[in-house]
Structure formats: C-alpha cells, structure tokens
Amino acid sequence: MKSPPDGRFPPRLAAGGWAPLLAQSRGGFESLWVPGVVSLRAGSSGHAGPESSYDRSDYVQGFTTRKKATENGRCITKLENMGFRVGQGLIERFTKDTARFKDELDIMKFICKDFWTTVFKKQIDNLRTNHQGIYVLQDNKFRLLTQMSAGKQYLEHASKYLAFTCGLIRGGLSNLGIKSIVTAEVSSMPACKFQVMIQKL
C-alpha cells in the first residue's frame, strides 16, 4: 500500500519543525572518517539557534572498534539494544500529545510518517503489509546509508548502522504495545528495507 500524501498528516507533525537532513556526502571530509560514516546533526528543537551538528557514527565507531576483534555479532546486538531503548524513549515523547491509536496499522503509519520524519527527516517511501502481521518499510534513500558509496564493499559496515535503526523501530513499537522482530535488508545502497514481524501474543 502506498503511504498517503502529506496532506493527510495531522498538524502535530509541524511540531518540532525539524529540517530535512543532508543527503549528499561530505566530500573530502570523509577521508578522515571510517568509510561509510553517518553524519547526524544534533541540535535541540528547543534552541532554534545556529545549526548544531554532531556525529553519532562515533558512537558506532568507538563502540565497534572496542569489540571489533571479538564478535561482530555481539556488538551488533548491543547497538540493537541501544536503538531499542532510544526508540522507547522517543516514542514516549512523540506520542505524548497524540490521540490514542486506533489499531496496529494506525501505529505503523505513525512510525512511517511522524516518527521517521522526526528521526530521519523524511518519510518512509513505501509501506507494505500482508495483513498477517508483517510490514515492510522501504526507504529509498535511507539516511544512515547515504554516506556510504553505493556498491557492495561497505555492506558489513552498513549492518552496524541498520542494527541501531532496527532497534529503534522495535523499541518504538514495543513501547506502543506491539512486540515485534525487525530485520533490515539492503539490496542496493542507499535504499533499504525494514521488515517488521509482529509477534502475536
């Protein structure tokens, strides 16, 4: 199913007023970075002051380098868990002033639009479901991957950034009372699919 046009967005979206995120890579700057680094700019909606920027990839970096040698898997899990916790917190804030959700689909839409926009400055491009608890969220230009040059060589790096996002989604949903398993899949960068499997209770 196609995600509906912005027109249908509730006004609450306006709140926060986050500008869309930079899409193209930061040229020569990358040389200083481990390839395929993500650049998130942090600044609080509170102070409308000058742009403020921060690089979260260093959480990822500092984090992975620490355990690189040992198991990649473990570090991935940690990132996922971090994402999970962050997702819980974010959703709690974002849904503070919204009406109660009607149903699962209502929630998924919220994730695809409001949530995604707040975090990644763009909506999910396409949301599909089989109506049996599986949703596929497709982002054609996933923000955390835009920094990576397309192609296969950085695939294993990408997993780190996706792990965090998977956690983000899972955490958000779980806080809204939906237990799920979220997996990510990249066929060609920077497009990315997140598959959400709802765990029926």
Binding site: R85, Q88, G89, I91, E92, R93, T95, K96, T98, A99, R100, F101, K102, D103, S174, N175, L176, G177, I178, K179, L201
Partner: protein
C-alpha cells in the same frame, strides 16, 4: 483530606497490570487504596477496549471518572504506551473539576515521559526518580 495517586503500567507481554509508582496521603492503610485502584483497572480496561470503536476525536488519553466509591472518586488516564494513571480523590473535594484532574494528568504524563527518557531507568521497573517524586508531592500539596 486524603488522596491517593497511582500509576501502573501494562506489561503487554503478560497482559497484566502492576504498579510502577504508588503514592498516597496519608500512607496508613494504603492497602485499601491498593484494592480500590486494582479493581478500578477493570473499568480502565473496559474503556480502553471500547476505545477501538470510538472516533479519532474521542480517542482522548484522559479516561475521566472511572467510578465513584462511597467516599472517593477514581479517575483514569492512559498513555499511548499503555501506561495507566489512576488518581483517587476524596469525593468531598469539590475543588477538583474534570479540567483540574485532566491537567494534573497531563503534568503526570510529561513528568513520566522524562522518566522514560532517563537512560538509567529500565522501562517497566518501579519509578524511583527524585524529579517525579517532587512533581507528585507538589501536586498533592496543591490539592490537599
């Protein structure tokens, strides 16, 4: 006057309800309030389940008066994250109209959101937060 405030969270895993935070004035025979609030959750659940059918504008987080007992009024509120707030007020306290109650719940909710955002807080654990305590205390003082 005594009054009493409880927040409880739904653990979706078990579909059970248990308290995350309990505060009552006065604290003696708190158990009575426990029972009162525990039973009131039936109504909360009923209201939430009824909510599905309701229209958007009726899907408010504030659930209003759950039920009146002999000498208390029990009000309810539920967040999108299925956290239920229940407030028990001495029914003789006429100062508290629906609107006051509603805004008090808003206060609680904001404060709870901050608790959720404290990285050291594990969602689902009992709330032990100075900030939250302070907020509740101030609310109670202002009411009692």
């Amino acid at each position: 006057m005594e009054w009493f405030l409880v927040t409880s969270a739904a653990v979706i895993l078990f579909l059970q309800n248990y308290p995350l935070y309990i505060r009552s004035v006065p604290t003696e025979n708190e158990l009575k309030f426990h029972y009162m609030v525990h039973t009131s959750l039936d109504v909360v659940d009923e209201k939430i389940s009824a909510m599905g059918k309701a229209l958007v504008d009726q899907r408010e987080l504030y659930l209003g008066l759950l039920y009146p007992t002999e000498d208390y009024k029990v009000y309810g509120y539920v967040t999108n994250s299925k956290v239920k707030f229940v407030m028990v007020v001495d029914s003789s306290n006429t100062a508290l109209r629906d609107n006051e109650i509603r805004s008090m719940f808003r206060k609680l909710h904001n404060s709870y959101t901050d608790v959720m955002c404290n990285p050291f807080y594990n969602p689902g654990d009992r709330i032990q937060s100075r900030a939250f305590d302070g907020m509740v205390t101030s609310m109670m003082i202002q009411v009692c």
